[in-house]
């Protein structure tokens, strides 16, 4: 009798799952985070060593930056599968430019421009051609990886003599804290402000909650959609610069599977895949949870293969919970 559930959709089930959701979103996520910290400390006293903590922090930052962009896209009820490939293309391009002696500010600008161009490309597909975001960005994912491989001829590109000068962005420290963490904090602050306090932020939520209502309310839906894909592309290429700087090499395979990482961070952070609900604070916590999980699995000495199984299961659980909630809640 699955019909009865549908018939009474506005009912108690919705109420309960909504309560579970606000619970999970509010203190729940923080609790999960705290428990994970406790587990990590219990498992290995070395967890609390500065070196390890900074490592975890750096990882939160790297995945977190892309996930902030992904949060914008998912809030509009979209998805951006191409982030990893954008990282790949940007990495090899930046490395080759640096190796060729192009000055660092120009390389940075050019690299960010690559991200923006990819964002525009995705945006045009979604907005102008009306392609489903999943398909459009899947195409970009495949094409982008191909472009990266072609440019680099399948080989990692070393920075050559420019490596030292470019080290600060990904490997440097400021007041004892790695630069990528500072960048991440700044980006989160800006994103939080934009989503909470600007008209554009409101429009992002409006488009994700009800696209047709947003259009009829006079919101420039195409512009909002275009913007979120550009933001996502821009933050992807920024991530690539940090990768390149830290590894002193531009890998055409850089960022592989990053899209899955980012999507699971966003979803675990409580942003709805169905648009219009969630935000960047959850994404920060989601990124911390994912990084801690990985750290704990490492501390436990679990093989990378098994780690993959665990990670996949967590993603499925988070997304499954979200889908179920959505189905019952409406």
């Amino acid at each position: 009798m699955e019909i009865t559930a549908r018939d009474v959709a506005p009912g108690s089930v919705a109420g309960i799952s909504r309560r579970m959701r606000s619970w999970a979103q509010g203190i729940g996520l923080l609790w999960v985070l705290l428990i994970l910290c406790g587990v990590a400390i219990y498992l290995s006293p070395s967890f609390l060593q500065t070196g390890n903590l900074l490592n975890v922090g750096r990882q939160v930052a790297l995945f977190g930056i892309v996930s902030v962009g992904m949060t914008f896209v998912i809030l509009t009820r979209g998805i951006d599968l191409s982030v990893g490939s954008i990282v790949g293309v940007t990495s090899v391009s930046a490395a080759m430019m640096l190796a060729a002696g192009v000055s660092i500010p120009i390389v940075v600008l050019a690299a960010l421009a690559i991200g923006v161009l990819f964002g525009i490309f995705n945006g045009v597909g979604v907005v102008v051609l009306g392609m489903p975001p999943f398909i459009m960005t899947l195409g970009t994912l495949v094409m982008g990886r191909g472009i990266a491989m072609t440019i680099a001829d399948g080989q990692p590109k070393s920075l050559g003599s420019a490596a030292d000068g470019f080290h600060f962005l990904g490997g440097g420290f400021l007041l004892g804290i790695p630069v990528p963490i500072w960048i991440f904090v700044a980006i989160v602050a800006v994103a939080y402000f934009v989503l909470r306090h600007t008209a554009f932020g409101r429009q992002v939520y409006a488009v994700g909650s009800n696209g047709e209502a947003a259009r009829l309310a006079g919101i420039n839906v195409p512009r909002v959609l275009m913007s979120v894909y550009v933001i996502s592309g821009l933050l992807s290429s920024l991530t690539a610069l940090i990768f390149v700087s830290r590894l002193t090499v531009g890998e055409p395979t850089a960022g592989t599977n990053l899209e899955l990482e980012a999507i699971s961070i966003v979803v675990i952070g409580g942003t709805s895949l169905f648009g219009g609900e969630g935000g960047v604070v959850g994404t920060v916590i989601g990124a911390a949870i994912i990084a801690l999980m990985a750290n704990i699995l490492n501390l436990l000495g679990i093989s990378p293969f098994t780690q993959q199984i665990v990670k996949g299961a967590i993603i499925l659980a988070a997304v499954g919970f979200e889908v179920m909630r959505h189905r019952k809640g409406r």
Partner: protein, 516 residues
Amino acid sequence: MTKALFSLQRENDFSKQTAAPALVLEMRRIHKRFPGVNALKDVSFTVSHGGVHGVIGENGAGKSTLMRVLSGAYIADEGEVVVDGKVVPSPTPDAMLRLGIAVIYQELAQAPHLTVAENIFLGRLTKTKLGTVDWPGVREGAREVLGRLGFDVSPEARIDQISVAQRQMVEIAKAIARDARIIVLDEPSAVLGDSELAHLFNIIRRLSREHGVSFIYITHRLKELFEICDDVTVMRDGEVVASTPIDSTNTGELIRHMVGRELKDVFPKRVEPRSEIRLRVSNLTRDGILDNISFDVRRGEILGVCGLAGSGRTEVLRAIAGADRIDAGSVEVDGKAVSIDTPQKGLAVGIGLLPEDRKTEGLFLDQSVGFNITVSKLGLVSWRGLIRPSSENSVVSRFIRQMRIKTPAAGTKVRTLSGGNQQKCGIARQLHAGNEILLVDEPTRGVDVAAKREIYDLLVELTATRGSSVVMVSSELPEILGLCHRILVMRQGCVAAILEGPGATEEQIMSHAVWH
């Protein structure tokens, strides 16, 4: 299917045997609280065998909540439901369905891509011996129920291809096919046209008199109560304030119970519009839908648009506002030709649209009341793109007060508001945007009598003091006749007539609206 047949038969015999109306349903001392709202306070309610029991009350009074408790969708905090003299031990949705209680909600929940037959038997599709669905049997069964009820709907039609009225019929057929003995109709007249409603009333009368089915009928139109109900219960602020046989009460008394004060049943005084033409529409055409529509609206004028369902009323508004593409024709605002192909461009020249379907086109249900009110003109509460919380808060609380939107807080999600209060949020958004040309589609749908008056007053004030122009689509002829300076009657996508408002009659409008 023979089961439903049999049950109609059985009920029939039963009704002959019982002389005095026996109680089939009793709800005793029901309490239901939501965060910030005490939705039901000690509500008791009875329904007699074969009776039609009307329920009225202001928006947010608790009518729909009571029905959700009855259907098992909500679990009451206190109180009990008694069916046939026996307390229902665990009132789950399943149990209530099995006891023969069917609720047809304000917002229909149907599977849009399934056929009528599939919807009628959803969840109970008969199987063949092989375990596959017995489609011919299902179709036959559906045809049989529909025929028995005298519904003119094809079992093969898809839900999203039939009218709202027909969907109501499908829901009733579904209830009957499940042997429902108590059918709840939550504001059917908010979505049905006059002739469809008349048809629904015939069905209610037949089922209640001949087959002993009981009905609970929720409405905001008092006239309907006297047409169809045996008893009426008035709710206010989550409490039952009166419950009487319909014969021993009258409209004035009911309104007094409902709003707690007298309400003069007059429309605000019409103020003469100014002479300048604000909006001129010429030869507007959408192939197959709108044919050569021309009219104009002056400053300070309220133009009513009426016509039968499907005559193109809604489509005219949507075309002008830029919501739908047009194939030919032009629109002038203040004498200047404008090209509006998106609602955004419409808004830029001061044209705002209140869409017909608040749920799918109007509101952001998972966002707050405040969000919904300010979203289309955020510029008015922000400074260089930054929203100023203080000015937003004051705007929002002003509207909540002025329009008497019943909500625990400005930050409450619109989804949890009652139907009529959701509608008010949509209207508040239009008023906030302050557009000079307002295109409103069924602005008072689902809104209670007192709030209707508020909305009329606001519309008249806008036109009289600010010189705004209003084009109002409504299927409630009294409000068209009472408010509008002129009335545009549509018929099959064309303008059938433009009448002067004062002096026009319902008969006159209908004679233009219907083909003859």
